[in-house]
Amino acid sequence: MKDLFAVIMLSGIYGLLSASFFVSMDAVDVAFTEASVGAGISTLLMLVAITMTGRTENPSRHKPLLALAVVIVTGSLLIYGTLDMPYFGSAQAPIHQHVAPRYINDSMQEVGVPNIVTSVLASYRAFDTFGEVVVIFTAGMGVLALLSAVRRPRDVAEIDSFNKSMYEEHLILRIVAKMLIPFILLFALYVQFHGDYGPGGGFQAGVIFAAAIILYAMLFGMNTARRVINQSFIQLFAAIGVLLYGSVGVISLLNGKNFLDYSILSADPIAGQHLGILLIELGVGFTVASVMVIIFFNFAGRRNNQQNKENNDSC
């Protein structure tokens, strides 16, 4: 397909489909994340990107036969490799023999959180998750370094007149969005703090929170959104998230336990674990939400600048 727009719409459908697949495979937390990321944010980012890079693909001049041959050979080798794999759904597979039983049987006594995914994510493998958060933070900084443009401050009057002309156009959308956005923010907080008991947690809540802000920015204009949420403020927030996560680890280190071992945070080890998980999820949520907002603001701001430049050129 040569029309990139169609490609992106179909990849959005693909994201929705894979999320319902995750639900049917019992991975509710993963489905939650894929729902908020794959279906919403990634489709949007790709769309913004193609509005900047052009919508059609040139027909390629070289023959795809070589590529096809490589793909078929690799694929058949991989399929040959699967012949020794354990069968789908068998409980005897090696993956279910080593650490998983311990997580399933002991996590209630050791961590005291019903959602095993949260307890593994935030307690048993907290160091790993710390690495992931740093990767996300770094990617956000990378986008910032690549795309941030010096913004010419526009006149407030101009913004207001622009807003008025937009207001007539999307009246119904704006009213519905005004009713929905507080609900979405509230729901994000629910996901953040209910992550111990049901599907949810910092990653999902951060993405949902960012989605609400993105909705606001799309309907009410970038400049209004920037006045509500300052760019440097949100950069500070991203850093605070990572620091919060790290400092929880350092505190437990200073108190004579291992890095990110929360039992020390309170007199009762279980309560300490609860406190630690809460703080860590909060740090993750801060970082993810602010990095997503940073990414979107920079893409959209870049696009606005380009359009302004083109308009000036054509005039």
């Binding site: 999307h170 119904i172 959308l173 519905v176 009713m179 929905l180």
Partner: protein
Amino acid sequence: MNISSVLLLLIGSFLCISGGVGILRFPDFYTRMHAVGVTETLATAMILIGLMLQNPDGLVVVKLMIILLMTLFISPTASHALASAAVHNNLMPELDNKEDNKKVKSSNP
């Protein structure tokens, strides 16, 4: 209780399928939009109410109610936005309604 739930689920599935046939078979964008927009809300409501009757205890019903409310808000709004965007991009304003429609059909075969 159970019979009514089964009935509602059946009606919901039927409406869903009719919407699906509509989106496949109808000739142009606006009729497809009509088929989907009309059946979608009602079918969702039917299926969700059917599910509510299946499991009438506290939290589940509340969550289903929230989903239903969201759908009632969101689905017509999205349809409205989609239709108005389509009209906005395909047509010159200040035309008579019938001529508008003809023009839409000729530009979207």
